[in-house]
């Protein structure tokens, strides 16, 4: 029986590198239309989790079921599955020898065999949405980081994926460009696209998430709605992690005029 509400079911997922476990029997279910934000300290396995979901890393154990299809099988045709799972990387990874439009059309035309005119229409729609239609002939090297990342998002969306994976997509950006990328993702969330987002932007996480999971040492330590997670984390580990982003009660230093707080809006 396939529960039509569930788009992705991960059960007891295990992944290790050279015998060192990174994901420890991780279990997680994602519902259709859900925006799941994954938070956790560096090296806890967030990227590894995403990479296992579209076959960039072979897993060592457990099961991944996507739309009723078992992905953790020798027979998985990853080329087919990846057409339905969009992925956006921290470093954009646009193809440098193709211009914006060629980057976007490669998948729909060459992989999915769509008509060029139809793919072009879709590319125009998305590029307009992210404000880059007039840059369609530009090469990646002519774009800013924020523009490159928006093109990378469109490249993934142009395939009509059923779920999108975002791996710290603003981590390489200058602060003034972070917002333009996050706004694109926020709009996608509003439209009900299923997404798994790894981020260190806490304010964004809170705004975009239907649900937050906190991972530490390869296991899910907390799994809760954003309000609960940020205001009332259940575990010590999550609380300590969140404190890194807080400046409340930090002394201003020797020349300070007494204790002052610099609250960070979450």
């Amino acid at each position: 029986m396939v529960n039509s509400q569930e788009i992705l079911k991960i059960k007891d997922l295990e992944k290790s590198f050279d015998g060192v476990p990174v994901l420890n029997r991780l279990t997680l279910t994602v519902k259709r239309g859900e925006v799941l934000v994954v938070i956790g300290p560096s090296g806890c396995g967030k990227s590894t989790l995403l990479r296992c979901l579209n076959g960039l890393e072979p897993v060592n154990g457990g099961q991944i079921v996507f739309e009723g299809q078992i992905l953790t099988s020798f027979q998985t045709s990853w080329s087919r599955v990846r057409q339905r799972i969009g992925m956006v990387f921290q470093n954009y990874e646009l193809f440098p020898h193709f211009n914006v439009l060629e980057n976007i059309l490669l998948g729909p035309v060459r992989v999915q065999g769509r008509k060029k005119s139809e793919a072009l229409e879709k590319a125009e729609f998305w590029l307009n949405r992210v404000g880059l239609w007039d840059r369609r002939e530009s090469f990646p090297r002519q774009l800013s980081g924020g523009q490159k990342q928006r093109v990378a998002i469109v490249r993934a969306l142009a395939m009509d994926p059923e779920i999108m994976l975002f791996d710290e997509v603003t981590a390489s950006l200058d602060p003034e460009m972070v917002r333009e990328v996050l706004d694109v993702i926020l709009n996608l969330a509003k439209e009900g696209l299923t997404m798994i987002i790894v981020t260190h932007e806490m304010a964004f996480a809170r705004a975009v998430a239907d649900r937050i999971i906190f991972i530490d040492q390869g296991v899910i330590v907390e799994d809760s709605p954003p309000e609960t997670f940020f205001e009332n984390p259940a575990t010590d580990r999550a609380r300590r992690f969140l404190n890194i982003f807080q400046f409340d009660g930090v002394q201003r230093g020797s020349r300070g005029t007494g204790p002052k707080t610099v609250p960070v809006r979450l």
Binding site: S79, L94, L106
Partner: protein
């Protein structure tokens, strides 16, 4: 300088140059195919084939062409395989060039970032499409200087073809030396090689500059 001699013998050099170019052309085309196959085998670490390719590359690069030709022209017949001079020349150049071009291509392939490959995979490209649309165009841009050096090296190596009795440029020049016109013959020999090789060299230079402007990296 006897210009009458030069004009009289120029057609001879023209013919010889055409033979040199033809042999070099096919040798380099086949070398590229062999080199590309070897480089891709090593890139994807195909078991067994990978060791075979590595062995072949060492053998090709560390033996002189003249020895390879000797084997093909004088050795193979003893094993019952008789090839004519042209076949031996093209086969020999392919054997040598395959090794050099494999190394040139490999340098380019290893310069393509892991992230680029994963980005290609993530939009569903299969192995072949990944090579064609993502890996080879980028590898080619990086490898072009090495490819250019190898191609020009191979064109110059054709000068030993006369040992398999082919009337190429060297062969014709040697013949004329016997007539005692050493200055004229040498001049025509140098000029002929320049006419053949210089355009190739310039074309590669132009291509390299164009790719640089296309701006790879970052």
């Amino acid at each position: 300088m006897d210009f009458e001699f030069i004009t009289a013998r120029a057609p001879l050099f023209g013919q010889a140059a055409r033979l040199t170019v033809t042999l070099a052309f096919w040798g380099i085309i086949f070398s590229s195919a062999v080199g590309l196959v070897c480089a891709v085998i090593r890139f994807y670490r195909v078991p067994l084939l990978r060791q075979a390719a590595a062995g072949y590359i060492e053998l090709a690069r560390n033996t002189p062409l003249i020895v390879q030709l000797f084997f093909l022209y004088f050795g193979l017949p003893r094993l019952g395989v008789v090839w004519d001079g042209e076949t031996c020349a093209i086969a020999g150049l392919t054997f040598l060039g395959g090794g050099y071009l494999a190394e040139a291509f490999r340098g380019g392939l290893s310069a393509v970032g892991r992230g680029q490959i994963e980005a290609g995979l993530s939009i569903g490209l299969n192995r072949f499409q990944l090579l064609r649309y993502v890996i080879i165009p980028q590898a080619l841009a990086v490898a072009l200087p090495a490819i250019s050096a190898a191609v020009i090296f191979l064109m110059k190596e054709t000068s030993v073809f006369s040992i398999v009795a082919l009337p190429d440029l060297m062969y014709v020049a040697k013949d004329l030396l016997k007539e005692g016109y050493s200055g004229e013959s040498n001049l025509m020999l140098v000029a002929s090689y320049l006419v053949v090789i210089l355009p190739v060299s310039l074309a590669f230079g132009y291509w390299e500059r164009r790719l640089r402007f296309a701006g790879f990296g970052s």
